[in-house]
């Protein structure tokens, strides 16, 4: 029997939700109070509704943690039986881990490329930044044929420019070079 990962305590989302609720309470007590919008009637009290939702969220987080602890406690006995199952599936797990490691690398690099693209887009302009972005992502995701990757980057970049600038009349960033297709 496999251990269900969703029944382990998910600290990251739990802390994230608590942080969101904490921000609501903190800003209600500071910024909204300073603006005179944290008390009074339903019209003047801008903090009333967010505080209510934040309280409900905190209660839900506590419930979630309690339910998760309860489920883990019940699964404690099953842990011993799990060991043999893990041994039997070791080959599959190692292969899966290999695939995940590759995917993890691809996601990490693509994410960095994406962040860099957002930063460079207003600086280099759409045409330059997008060509580089698409090419980098395609190569990161495993395309070995560089010529095909370059061709795809060029076609996709110009196709999007045609659609957004030519059809939808959206002014895409020109950047410091001021390069753009004219329609």
């Amino acid at each position: 029997m496999k251990r269900n990962i969703s029944h382990q305590i998910d600290w990251i989302p739990t802390l994230f939700f608590l942080a969101v609720a904490g921000i609501v309470f903190y800003l209600s007590a500071t910024s909204l109070t300073t603006q005179g919008a944290a008390s009074g009637t339903a019209i003047t009290n801008a903090a009333m509704y967010p505080r209510l939702v934040a309280r409900v969220l905190v209660v839900l987080v506590v419930l979630h943690v309690l339910v998760t602890f309860g489920t883990l406690w019940k699964q404690k006995e099953a842990t011993v039986r799990d060991v043999r199952a893990t041994d039997e599936h070791r080959g599959k797990i190692e292969k899966k881990n290999g695939v995940l490691a590759t995917a993890g690398r691809q996601i990490a690099v693509s994410s960095l490329v994406f962040v860099a693209y957002l930063y460079l887009l207003p600086l280099l302009g759409y045409l330059v930044a997008t060509h580089l972005f698409v090419l980098a992502v395609v190569l990161t995701l495993g395309m070995r044929d560089v010529t095909r990757a370059v061709l795809f980057a060029v076609v996709l970049t110009f196709a999007c420019s045609l659609v957004f600038e030519g059809v939808f009349n959206v002014r895409l960033p020109r950047g410091v070079f001021g390069i753009a297709l004219s329609f």
Partner: protein, 502 residues
Amino acid sequence: MSFEALSAGFSLFASPLTIGLTAVGCFLGLIIGVLPGLGPLMGIILLLPMVLNVPPVAAMGMLIAVFVGGSCGGALSAITLRIPGTPLAAATLLDGYPMAQKGRAGDAIGLAIAASSVGGLFGGVILIFGAPLLAEFALRFGPPEYFSLTLLGLTSIAVVGDDSPIKGFMAGCLGLLVATVGTDIFANAQRFTFNNYQLSNGFHLVPIIVGIFALSEVVVQVQGGNLTAKPDVPRVRPSLRAFRLLLGHKINLLRSSAIGTFFGVLPGAGGTISAFAAYAVAKANARPNEHYGEGEEGGIVATESANNSAAGAVLVPTMALGIPGDASAAVLMAALILFGFFPGPELFEQNLDVVGGIFLAYITANVALVVLGFLMTPMLLRVLRLRKVFLLPAILLLSVMGTFALQSSVFDLWIMLGFGVVGYTLRHYGYPLAPIVIGVVLGPICEANYRRSMLMSRTGHMVFVQRELSAVILAVIVLILLWSTIGQRVWNRVLRRRTSGR
């Protein structure tokens, strides 16, 4: 009111732009539905930023047509590759793939398209006659009723999706809180803006939706691997005799369309549940010579008519009450709001022409589905050969450009990235994403009606219980919660006892 709506909407609908965009939307929906992992929701999200500068009825026609086409497109990959293009087609592969293995792929695809179209038209009739009736009933609603309705919408989506309703509610609360960022219209105060003027109007809906769904989906697709693999897709042309075959399943077709409509109207149920429910009923009513699961025509008829009729039915509570039935309906509702039209009885009173135009666009999309589906199947199957290594960067770029096009703002792109990180993280830990979007869409309606209720109430929160309609809605919420927690466990225990008893 239904015929008034149709005649009022005819002038808005009957323009080359609207009809053209509806047909284009259906075509794009088919393409997006065919590609595994995308689905009609993704199609609507990617196209939403692009249609905001188009006249409202034309834009809604295109988005609804994407919804209709996408609800059918997934059947093609289910039948040919045994991989459903969308969750809606998961039930279709049960008989679609075995039928294709027997050399009848053309019949299977033809039946899927024909049944989808007829089911969709059935859902459309329910939409045209049901939505105005429901909107008229909702005229009796005041702020407490509307507040309770938004809670019902959130509850339905939160408990139906995953095995943990608590996670669904947490996601919904997050969406409600995200919607509070910006200037409070009642007190004229800046809320949670961190002194950033760009947040004065709050977050734009589109970066949130695109970030949460599109970016997180791209990451999940990369995790799935096989990015450079090219699927081996057979060459198939749908057979026109599918219509003749469909006539041999009239009762199944009508019954499944009705089942799909029933589940479609229920907030939170949607096309996938309706498809499986219709399949189960069709199987239970099978004739002795029908063997479901081995390539039976009735299996495809049941699933495809149900999931497409649900597409029309889901728009009934969305347009009449402002309660989206699922995530796709939530995004369609968001689109309506972005155009300045607020779903609910007021929409039917003040903008009946827009309502009628949308009805006509929906019907046209289902007619276009048959024509385009039959003509374009060979091309759609070729699209299936597109490798993810090319598809995923295209989705990323469309997401970026679509979001940028809203306000020509790079800040929106950073918001999109932030919500993408949040969306992927929550998804990784098993949290449903649809409640977040529904929370964001319903948030302003929920808050406004809550505060108005508090203002008019002399008994505080008891006002929600003292008003009969609101109390009934709250009772329904309690029943849903009880069923999703205690009721389902008891039912599963009964089923297990029956199975082990045999």
